[in-house]
Symmetry: C2
Subunit: 121 residues, 2 copies
DNA sequence: CAGCATCCGAGAAGATACTG
DNA sequence: CAGTATCTTCTCGGATGCTG
C-alpha cells in the first residue's frame, strides 16, 4: 500500500516521476514557480526577486520548466527586449502544491535555526 | 505581496528557511519522508523500499532529519540490532504537504516522459 | 534588456569494504 | 542488522565575458 500516492512508483529508481520531482523541488525551481504564481514576471524581475540566483541558473531553470510545460515564455520583439514568464495551467497546479511546503518551511525555520525548541502548549 | 506565504522571506538569500526547504525537498529527503508516513520502518526496509539510494545517502538524510526533529530514531539494544525510524509530529506535518506534490509528479510524469508534446525538436 | 558559452571549485552522490 | 570509512565520480552552481 502506498497510502495516498497513485502507485508509489517514485520509489522505483527508474521512474520518470523522479526526474520531474527533482526539477520542481530543485533549489531554484521552487522559488521560480512560487515567484511566478502571483502573475507574470520579466527576466530581470525574477533575477532581482529571487535572492542569490545567478543568471545561469535562472536561465537553466526557466528553460527546463518551459520544456516541461510548466512555464510559458512570452518574448516580444521590441527593441529593448521584453520577455515575460508566466505559469501554465500545469505550472499553477504544481505551484499550488508547493506553496504549503514553502509556507511550512518559513514557519519552522525560526525554530530550527535557533537552539531550543521547548514544546509548551 | 507574497500572496499566501507568511512573509515571502524565502526569496531572501540568507533566510534560514532556504536550508530547511532544501533538506526536505532533497532528492532522497522527500522519498524518506514519504516512505515513513505510513508508519515506522527499519533501516533495511528503507534501503530496499527507496530504489537507488545508497547506504551513505540514506544515513546522511536520516541523520539530518533527526537533527531537524522530523524523524525519530528508535534503536533497541538487541543482539541483531533493531532500529526503527518514524516521523515526529513535525515530520508528519511536512510530509503531508509533500505527498500532494509527489502524487502530482507521478501523475504528470507519464505525460512529459513519452508524450509528443514536443513540437518538432 | 535578455540571454548564452566557458571555465572552475565545492559539495553531492555512488560503490565498496569494513565494523560493532 | 545497522551502520561507518574511504575513494572516486559527477553534477550543481558561481563568476565572468560576449552577443543580439
Amino acid at each position: 500500500m502506498t497510502g495516498g500516492l497513485p502507485k508509489g512508483e517514485v520509489f522505483s529508481a527508474d521512474c520518470p516521476s523522479r526526474r520531474l520531482l527533482g526539477e520542481v523541488t530543485s533549489k531554484w525551481g521552487v522559488l521560480v514557480l512560487v515567484a511566478l504564481r502571483e502573475g507574470p514576471l520579466r527576466w530581470s524581475e525574477l533575477l532581482r526577486r529571487i535572492g542569490g540566483v545567478s543568471e545561469k541558473m535562472l536561465a537553466r531553470t526557466l528553460r527546463s520548466f518551459e520544456a516541461e510545460g510548466l512555464v510559458l515564455r512570452d518574448a516580444r520583439p521590441v527593441v529593448p527586449p521584453h520577455v515575460e514568464y508566466s505559469l501554465t495551467e500545469a505550472g499553477h497546479e504544481v505551484t499550488a502544491r508547493l506553496v504549503p511546503l514553502v509556507a511550512w518551511a518559513e514557519e519552522h525555520a525560526v525554530r530550527t535555526s535557533g537552539a531550543g525548541d521547548r514544546a509548551h502548549g
